[in-house]
C-alpha cells in the first residue's frame, strides 16, 4: 500500500503521467526518478527507449532495451540461450540488459579500422554471468549496422552427440557431419537472406561427378545446394566460409562480416565422437571444426570475430574453470592470440536493481515477500547477483 502512495506523490513531479505503468514498479528512488524525468521516460527506470545498440552508451548501463519481436526470428534463429527463449515466450517481449562488456566491444567495433586484420574479442566469466547474452547483444549491433553475421550458437554441438559421421569426400583424413552442417546452413540462410543474392562465388566448386557450382553464382545457390544435398553440406559450409572470408576484405564487396562463435573452447578441446573402431576423433579431424578454425585466424580483414567461452557444454573440463587459458588450453590460446579478452562479471548493484524491477514489472515475482526489503536481500544473498542463478530462483517465486 505504501508503494502506491509513494508513487502517487512522485508522479506529480514526473513530466508525463502514465498511471498504469508506474504502479507496478513503485520503488522510484529520488535521484533515479529525477534522471528519468530529464530523459522523459515515464515507463520505468530500468527500461530505455534506445533500442538501437549503436546509440547506446554508458548512461544506459543496467537498463533493458527491447529487441523488436519481428526480427528475433531472423536475427537469432538459433542464437539465444535456452532459458532466455522461454523467458521471451513468457513475457512476450525480448528485453536485453545493456551491460558494460558488450558496450566495450561495440565501441571498439565502431572505432575499428576495417582495412586491418579482423580484431578478435573473447567474452569470459563465471558460469551464468551473461557471456552468451553479451554476444547476442553485439550480434544485434552488427546486424543493425548491416553486417553479415556468421553465428555459430554453440561450437560444442559440433564435437559431441554426432549421429552420423561420414568420411569427407574432399579430404580422406577428415570427417563430415551432415546433420549439423545442414542445420547450420538453414539457420544461416534465415539470418542473412538479403546477402545471399548479392554475393557471388569466385570459384567453381565440384560436389559430385554431376553436381557443381559455377563461378559467379550467387551464394544463395551454394547454400541451397548444401541444404538439399545433405551429404555434401559440410563441404558447402567450408566453401561458404572461404568465400566470405575472401570477399569481406575487398573494398568493392560493400559488406562486413561478423563471426560470432559461442563455446569457442570446443574447437581446441576434446570430442566425444568416436570412429568405428572406437578410437576418439580429435576436433581437427572434423571438417566443420577445421573450417571454423580457419575463420578464427586474423588473416582476413573487413570484419570482426566475437567469441564467448562456455564451460557448460564443454567436455572434460572442471566446472570451476572459467578463465581463458584454462578453457582454451595452450593450443587454443596460441591460436587466438592476440585477442582482446573481455570479462563478464555478475550483476553490479545497479544492474541487479534493474533486473529485480523488471521481474516485478512483468509480475514474474509472485511471492509477497519478494516485494519487501528482506526478500530482496535474500535474493541477493542466494544468487550472489549471478544472472542465471537469479533467473532460476525467480522462476520459483
Amino acid at each position: 500500500m505504501a508503494l502506491y502512495r509513494l508513487s502517487f506523490r512522485l508522479r506529480q513531479t514526473v513530466a508525463y503521467v502514465r498511471p498504469l505503468h508506474t504502479s507496478g514498479c513503485g520503488q522510484q528512488q529520488g535521484a533515479l526518478a529525477v534522471e528519468s524525468e530529464t530523459r522523459q521516460e515515464p515507463f520505468s527506470i530500468f527500461r530505455t527507449l534506445e533500442n538501437d545498440p549503436a546509440c547506446q552508451s554508458e548512461k544506459h548501463v543496467g537498463q533493458y532495451y527491447t529487441l523488436p519481436s519481428a526480427h528475433i526470428h531472423t536475427l537469432f534463429p538459433h542464437g539465444l540461450p535456452q532459458r532466455y527463449q522461454l523467458q521471451v515466450k513468457t513475457f512476450n517481449e525480448a528485453c536485453v540488459m545493456v551491460r558494460q562488456p558488450a558496450l566495450e566491444v561495440i565501441s571498439c567495433l565502431k572505432k575499428a579500422d576495417y582495412s586491418k586484420p579482423a580484431p578478435r574479442f573473447l567474452f569470459y566469466g563465471v558460469k551464468g554471468s551473461g557471456k552468451t547474452m553479451s554476444l547476442c547483444h553485439t550480434v544485434h549491433f552488427c546486424s543493425t549496422q548491416g553486417w553479415l553475421v556468421l553465428h555459430i550458437p554453440d561450437a560444442h554441438l559440433w564435437v559431441k552427440n554426432c549421429k552420423e559421421l561420414l568420411p569427407s569426400s574432399y579430404n580422406a583424413s577428415r570427417f563430415d557431419q551432415p546433420l549439423q552442417a545442414s542445420n547450420w546452413l538453414r539457420n544461416f540462410r534465415v539470418t542473412n537472406e538479403h546477402f545471399l543474392s548479392k554475393i557471388k562465388t569466385r570459384q567453381r566448386y565440384v560436389w559430385t561427378k554431376r553436381e557443381f557450382t559455377e563461378e559467379g553464382r550467387p551464394l544463395g545457390e551454394l547454400v541451397d545446394q548444401g541444404i538439399s544435398r545433405v551429404k555434401s553440406s559440410s563441404d558447402v559450409v567450408g566453401a561458404v566460409m572461404k568465400e566470405l572470408r575472401l570477399q569481406s576484405g575487398q573494398p568493392e564487396a560493400g559488406f562486413r562480416m561478423a563471426v560470432a562463435v559461442d563455446g569457442i573452447n570446443a574447437l581446441w578441446g576434446k570430442s566425444t565422437i568416436k570412429k568405428e573402431d572406437k578410437s576418439p576423433v580429435s576436433p581437427e579431424e572434423l571438417t566443420l571444426v577445421y573450417n571454423l578454425k580457419k575463420m578464427m585466424k586474423n588473416d582476413w580483414c573487413g570484419g570482426a570475430v566475437i567469441t564467448a567461452l562456455s564451460q557448460t557444454g564443454s567436455l572434460y573440463t572442471p566446472s570451476s574453470a572459467h578463465l581463458p587459458q584454462e578453457l582454451l588450453g595452450e593450443e587454443g590460446f596460441d591460436s587466438m592470440d592476440p585477442f582482446v579478452p573481455v570479462s563478464v562479471s555478475n550483476y553490479s548493484e545497479k544492474e541487479f536493481e534493474s533486473c529485480y524491477l523488471y521481474y516485478l514489472d512483468r509480475h514474474w515475482l509472485q511471492h509477497p515477500q519478494t516485494r519487501t526489503e528482506e526478500g530482496k536481500k535474500e535474493l541477493i544473498f542466494l544468487s550472489n547477483r549471478n544472472p542465471s542463478t537469479l533467473e532460476r530462483l525467480c522462476a520459483f517465486l
Partner: protein, 334 residues
C-alpha cells in the same frame, strides 16, 4: 566318629558314600592307615612320621611397617630409586591405583598389584636424577663456541645439516631400526650452481626441494647403519652436484614442452603478433630482419610480450588478464 568308621572299612577302596545309600557320615577315604588320624599332637595338622625329624617351617615374621611411612618429604629420591627397578609398593609413597575397577568400586590399590609391576616405570629418571646425570657428564663436555650465537652464523659456517633420531624405550633390546634414518639438509643457494646446473638439479631432485625455504632434503634410509646412511647421503649430494654441471648430448633435444618457463622468443605468440602487424602494414617499408627487429623494439610490442609472459608463467588472474587486454588494445590500436 569318622575315624572309627574308617577303621572298619580298612580293606575297602574308595567308597562313594551317597550312591550306596549309606548315611552321610561316610567319608571318602583313599588311604587307609593303621594309625589314628586325630590331631592330638598339635603338629600343624601334618602327619607325624615317626621320629625322623619334624619338618619345621621358619616361623613366619610379621611384615613390618612399609618404608613409605618413614620417608621424609624432602628426602633424596635418587637414593630410593637409583637405577631401573620394578615397582615396589612399599617404596613408592604415592597412593596409586591401577587395574579394572571392581563393579561399583575403584581400581585396586598398589599393594600386591601385578599390573603396576608389569609395566615399565621411569621412577629412576626424575628431573632431580637427570640433573645429577648432567652434572656427572659435565666434566666430559666442551662449551658451545661463543661466536656461533645466531642462526645466520651457523648457516654460514655449517651449510650442511644432518638430522638423525635416537630412540629410547624400555624393553628387552636397546636397538631401534628407525635410528638408522639420516636427513641431510642443504640450501641450494650455498651450492655453486649456474643457471643450467640449477635447473638440472631441480629436475633431478624433484620433490625433495622446497621452493619456499630453498632447502634440499635428502633422506637416506636404505642401509642398516646410520653411518652407512650418512655416507650415502654425502655421496648423493656430491653426485648431484657434479651431474648437474655436466651437459649431456641429448639435452639439446629439448622441445618447447620440456621447458620450465615460457619464453616468448620463437613462440607462436611472437609469430602471431608479427604476422598481425605485418598485415596491418604498420611496419613500413623494409626487408625481413630489419623489419622484425624494428617491430620487436616497439614499446607496445614489449608490453605485449611482458603481459603474455606473465600470463603463461604466473598463471591467470584478473590483473594479468587486464594487463594483457590493455597491451593487446595498444598493439592493435583499438
Amino acid at each position: 566318629m569318622a575315624a572309627h568308621t574308617s577303621k572298619a572299612f580298612l580293606s575297602l577302596g574308595r567308597i562313594n558314600g551317597p550312591g550306596l545309600g549309606f548315611h552321610n557320615s561316610l567319608t571318602r577315604v583313599t588311604y587307609a592307615t593303621a594309625l589314628s588320624t586325630t590331631n592330638s599332637t598339635g603338629n600343624k595338622g601334618f602327619p607325624d612320621r615317626g621320629n625322623r625329624g619334624a619338618f619345621v617351617r621358619k616361623p613366619r615374621r610379621e611384615a613390618g611397617e612399609p618404608r613409605t611411612e618413614k620417608m621424609a618429604v624432602n628426602q633424596d629420591w635418587t637414593a630410593v630409586y637409583s637405577a631401573a627397578a620394578p615397582f615396589k609398593p612399599g617404596s613408592v609413597p604415592l597412593p596409586v591405583r591401577m587395574g579394572y575397577p571392581v563393579k561399583g568400586g575403584v581400581p585396586p590399590e598398589k599393594k600386591g598389584n601385578l599390573e603396576l609391576i608389569k609395566i615399565p616405570n621411569f621412577l629412576h629418571l626424575t628431573p632431580a636424577a637427570i640433573k645429577k646425570h648432567c652434572e656427572a657428564l659435565k666434566p666430559f663436555c666442551t662449551e658451545w663456541p661463543s661466536a656461533l650465537d645466531t642462526e645466520a652464523t651457523l648457516d654460514e659456517h655449517f651449510p650442511i645439516k644432518l638430522e638423525s633420531t635416537d630412540y629410547i624405550s624400555a624393553g628387552t633390546s636397546v636397538r631401534n631400526p628407525s635410528a638408522r634414518i639420516v636427513h641431510l639438509k642443504v640450501k641450494l643457494s650455498r651450492l655453486n650452481l649456474d643457471d643450467h646446473a640449477r635447473k638440472k638439479m631441480l629436475r633431478l631432485v624433484g620433490d625433495r626441494y622446497c621452493k619456499d625455504t630453498d632447502i634440499l632434503t635428502i633422506r637416506a634410509d636404505s642401509c642398516p647403519l646410520r653411518q652407512q646412511n650418512y655416507e650415502y647421503a654425502m655421496y648423493l649430494l656430491t653426485v648431484l652436484y657434479h651431474e648437474s654441471w655436466k651437459t649431456e648430448s641429448w639435452e639439446a633435444e629439448r622441445t618447447a614442452a620440456d621447458m620450465d618457463e615460457y619464453s616468448w622468443e620463437d613462440s607462436p605468440s611472437q609469430k602471431n603478433i608479427l604476422d598481425t602487424l605485418a598485415h596491418m602494414k604498420m611496419a613500413g617499408e623494409g626487408e625481413g630482419e630489419a623489419v622484425r627487429e624494428e617491430l620487436l623494439g616497439r614499446p607496445e610490442v614489449q608490453e605485449y610480450r611482458d603481459s603474455v609472459m606473465r600470463l603463461k608463467n604466473e598463471g591467470e588472474s584478473e590483473s594479468s588478464m587486464h594487463q594483457y587486454r590493455e597491451a593487446v588494445k595498444k598493439v592493435l590500436n583499438l
